[in-house]
Amino acid sequence: MGEQLAQYLASGLVVGGIYALIGLGFVIVYGVTRIVNFAQGEFVMLGALGMVTLTARGYGVGTAFVVSLLAVATVGALLERVAVRPLRRAPALAVLILTIGASIALRGAALLSWGTDPLAVPAFSAGPPLVVGGAVVVRQGVWVLAVAASVFAALWWFFNRTYAGTAVRACAVNPRAASLMGIRVDRVSLLAWTLSGALGATAGAVIAPITYATYDMGLMLGLKGFVAAVLGGLASPPAAIAGGFALGVLESLAAGLVSSAYKDAVAFVVLIAVCLAQVAGWLPWRVAQES
């Protein structure tokens, strides 16, 4: 049983790392703009399919990673400029529907460009899986955790040690005050969307070798990432990371110890539970609402 538990934990952490990366994208955009970006999962899909195309053309994993990251970050920035900005005064629900539209449009575009077949991406490094404390971890799983850790560290540095990062944080706390202090809120919004595009692409690129890439992979991953973000209160990057790992482990334990039939429902039960707990005031933190 101990070995099994270790295995559930290990697989849960790898999957949780993916959710955490996606959840971070939600938190950054939500923090600054109070928008739930439904297209976050599509960024992940684009990152993964970008890796497919680039590695198939013979580029190395590193080059492919950087190029697809930049490309998807550009998509994020474009989306902000073309679609989100004109609606900056609209109600939050209108913007939510807009991003749902964006996610469907991106999915449709991917379907037309890449087709419906799942596509494979080579692992970052070849070799048999590692055994850690009785649990088997594939090498790409280690990559997922390593990349997630580096991204978290880089984000921490960015938010706490750079001017732009501080500006983002200021906007997240109080956009009006930030603008009074001379911070260009519209630029910060652009930055947030670009960043979330890059984060999504990163998640997509590292998981593609494990999950393969398909045009419709974004929806479920995006939703799980959102649940991770809500679990962490939607406003705090470290909490979203914790939420991601918690969700991954919870799903894995549910599949392993309870029943695999309802494994995917776990995330959504958690989602509703967190929402309700928030209303009832049972949570030590609050989900930041539209101010």
Binding site: V36, A83, P86, L87, A90, A92, L93, A94, V95, L96, I97, L98, I100, G101, A102, S103, I104, A105, L106, R107, G108, A109, L111, L112, L219, L223, F226, V227, V230, A261, Y262, D264, A265, F268, V269, L271, I272, C275, L276, Q278, V279, V287, Q289, E290
Partner: protein, 318 residues
């Protein structure tokens, strides 16, 4: 719309509806109109929630599924009378909505939208995994058509009378409601919740009431769907259908009942036209491939340029 005007319009529509099978003989066109009517019913329900309670439900397909499965299982598995099953299905839709709405309507805005999304997906998993009752992913066959004496609603034309009649009836009731004290209160809540509450309106109860009503209407559409197709399985009731309903409502114009009907008609017609037209352009792509991208783009364009929908376009002063 004044009450009398509304009655005239609906009566006119009823005459057209009654005469339609003598004018249109293609079962395909009639079936498309049946699906428009069923989608429009569900969309009218959602437009009440979106336009009058100011909330987005991303799980509306779940109520369609509840209606379809309650009525389908009762008749196909337990041999229950069809109309009784439809009534129970509608009640089940309302009860489900009330039960889920009671806790989640204390949430607001985005959290509420996401909670309804979660609810919709959970219902889908229940349909898939509770195979003993629902037949699981491979579905439930043998749902009987509805009958009145010897008259069976088993052809496209007859089903169109039923579904179209149900739609007109719901439009009449919902139109009356919107024009009443309750409807005014709903519109007030949408306009300013705080001011509405100060006027003595129990906003939480009212919103819950609308959500319940929408659940009932959507379940009615689902029940009729089950008796029309005589077969149900979970896959039409997934998240995609919830989003499609939102698209219909947004397209037509959020706070307009006729807008929801228009939205449903346009979407079905668009999909069918696309299917007819696409083979002329490209043999290698399925129509649905373009359909997905097209839906997304339509949704975005409408939110950016025409948030009041097609009805808003018509109303806008020239």
């Amino acid at each position: 719309m004044a009450a009398r005007q509304r009655v005239m319009v609906l009566l006119g529509a009823a005459v057209v509806l009654a005469a339609l099978p003598w004018v249109v003989h293609s079962r395909y066109v009639l079936a498309a109109l049946v699906f428009i009517a069923l989608n429009a019913l569900a969309a009218v329900g959602l437009s009440l929630v979106m336009g009058f309670a100011g909330q987005v439900s991303l799980g509306q397909a779940a109520f369609f599924a509840v209606g379809a499965y309650v009525s389908g299982v009762l008749t196909a598995t337990y041999g229950c009378n069809g109309w009784l099953a439809v009534v129970i299905a509608v009640a089940a839709g309302a009860l489900t909505a009330a039960a889920i709405g009671l806790p989640i309507f204390r949430l607001s805005g985005l959290l509420l939208a996401m909670a309804t999304l979660g609810f919709g997906i959970i219902v889908y998993y229940v349909l898939v995994n509770w195979a003993a009752v629902t037949g699981g992913p491979s579905g439930l066959t043998g749902v009987p058509p509805l009958t009145v004496g010897a008259f069976r609603f088993d052809s496209d034309a007859r089903m169109l009378w039923l579904a179209g009649g149900a739609l007109l009836g719901v439009l009449w009731l919902a139109g009356n409601l919107v024009d009443s004290r309750i409807g005014r209160a709903l519109r007030a809540v949408h306009g300013s919740e705080a001011a509405a509450a100060a006027a003595g309106i129990d906003t939480a109860r009212l919103k819950l009431g609308v959500f319940t009503l929408a659940g009932a209407i959507t379940a009615l559409a689902g029940a009729l769907y089950a008796h029309y197709l005589t077969f149900i399985n979970p896959s039409p009731f997934g998240f995609a259908y919830s989003v499609e309903l939102v698209v219909m409502v947004v397209l037509g114009g959020v706070a307009s009942l006729w807008g929801a009907v228009l939205g449903a008609a346009v979407i079905v017609a668009l999909v069918e036209t696309l299917r007819a037209a696409l083979p002329l352009v490209s043999a290698s792509h399925g129509a649905a491939e373009y359909e997905i991208a097209l839906f997304g783009v339509i949704l975005m364009l409408f939110m950016i340029f025409l948030p009041t929908g097609l009805v808003g376009l018509a109303r806008r002063p020239a």
